[in-house]
């Protein structure tokens, strides 16, 4: 599968090292209708290709939205793109969040750092079909107040009172008067019925591990917890074996897994 060249239509700076790119397809491009949790391989000419989650529900015009944190060779090029630049897109790939299974259930979304990006389409979906679900909570953690993504949306979601939105930072500064402490601390205070809640968790793996522990402490079954495993991958189609752990290919079997299916991987060190 060769990349389709999308043009950067808009660049929104989220934080000092994160930008959101809105990409327009070339005329006549095959429609791309990603589901929440899927990712594309974004290719920067002459540098390389990386998996990046789709961070918004698809628009009618086929635009794609990706939120990227600059951490290395390719992502630093991606966050430096300007309006009018082109980027290669292969996808969408991967198993999405099982939003179809949420009907009538409480939902708790636990996320930290750039992990909010693949969950943003889930939140957009939940809000668009709000009456279909029980109690919905978003618990979001960032390193500092300056690292919070999608600030205006967070405020709008909270003010809508359609869902409970709580955010916290590990390190406070200045006149910050929000929560301080790791995101897993919000789990013990969140409102949900452990018997009828589904949890979607995404963030650094160590955060996922402690989030699951906190959800378990609230009486939740891990068969109702889904996590997104964003380990490094190359071909994205289960061919090269770069992201293979035992029988599991992160790219095609994931990135979203039911936690009880993937739990043994969390117990293996040095993976």
């Amino acid at each position: 599968m060769s990349p389709v060249w999308y043009r950067v239509h808009r660049v929104r700076r989220e934080t000092h090292d994160v930008v959101t790119l809105e990409l327009t397809p070339p005329e006549g491009a095959p429609p791309c209708s990603p589901e929440p949790g899927q990712f594309n391989m974004l290719y920067v000419f002459g540098t390389g290709e990386v998996p990046i989650s789709i961070s918004s529900l698809p628009s009618d015009r086929g635009e794609l939205v990706h939120t990227v944190r600059g951490v290395g060779a390719v992502t630093n090029k991606l966050i430096a793109l300007q309006r009018g630049d082109v980027v290669g897109v292969r996808g969408p790939f991967g198993r999405p969040w099982p939003v179809g299974e949420l009907r009538g259930r409480d939902v708790v979304v636990v996320t930290g750092g750039i992990g909010l990006a693949p969950l943003r389409p889930v939140l957009q979906h939940l809000l668009a079909h709000r009456k279909t679900f029980g109690h919905v909570s978003l618990l979001y953690g960032a390193r500092t107040p300056y690292d919070l993504l999608y600030r205006n949306e967070l405020l709008a979601w909270r003010d809508s009172r359609e869902i409970d939105v709580e955010w916290t930072v590990d390190r406070s500064s200045g006149v910050w008067n929000g929560n301080v402490g790791v995101v897993t601390r919000l789990i013990s205070r969140a409102t949900f019925d452990p018997e009828r809640v589904t949890a979607f968790v995404c963030g650094p793996e160590i955060m996922i591990k402690y989030a699951i522990e906190a959800l378990r402490n609230r009486g939740m079954a891990t068969s109702n917890c889904y996590v997104s495993m964003e380990r490094n991958m190359k071909c994205a189609v289960g061919f090269c074996g770069h992201c293979q752990y035992g029988p599991t290919f992160m790219c095609k079997d994931g990135p979203v897994f039911r936690f009880d299916h993937i739990e043994p991987l969390f117990q293996i060190r040095e993976l």
């Binding site: 930290g112 390193r143 590990d170 790791v182 205070r189 160590i206």
Partner: protein
Amino acid sequence: MTQIPTSKPSIVDTLRKHQVFEGISPDCLEAFAATAHHVSLQPREVLIQEGAPAEEFLLIDSGRIAIEIFVQGRGHVSIETLGPGELVGWSWLVEPHRWHFDAIAVTPSDLIAFPAAAARELLASNHECGYGLLSRFLPQIVQRLRATRMQLLDFYTLEQ
């Protein structure tokens, strides 16, 4: 800080709402609530000052309290915030019974305050009640210790 005189049953009712007091025998809860009182705070009102004697400890009924440490050159640094159902302060349990941090209301907050001397006396004289209470307070202490360790890990920088 406003101390609101209230009848004791309403304090017991308030305590019963919170998980930390779940399963405590009615007699023990009554005894523990006997000397307690309601406290209401406005944002930025100081609840606890570092170095002061830890003469009482508190349960947050509603609102948010910041635990702050004063750092020369940086001013007040908020290290954690606490919410409903969480206890503020352990120094009342541990010699020399002095606070090691400041606690300040972030939002309008309602709390229940327990005089420390009476609480210590109850724990010492009624071991069953004391064990019941401490074994419910301990998980909160452990949870916060774990959270502090995670904060130290600075795991968002490990994402790379």
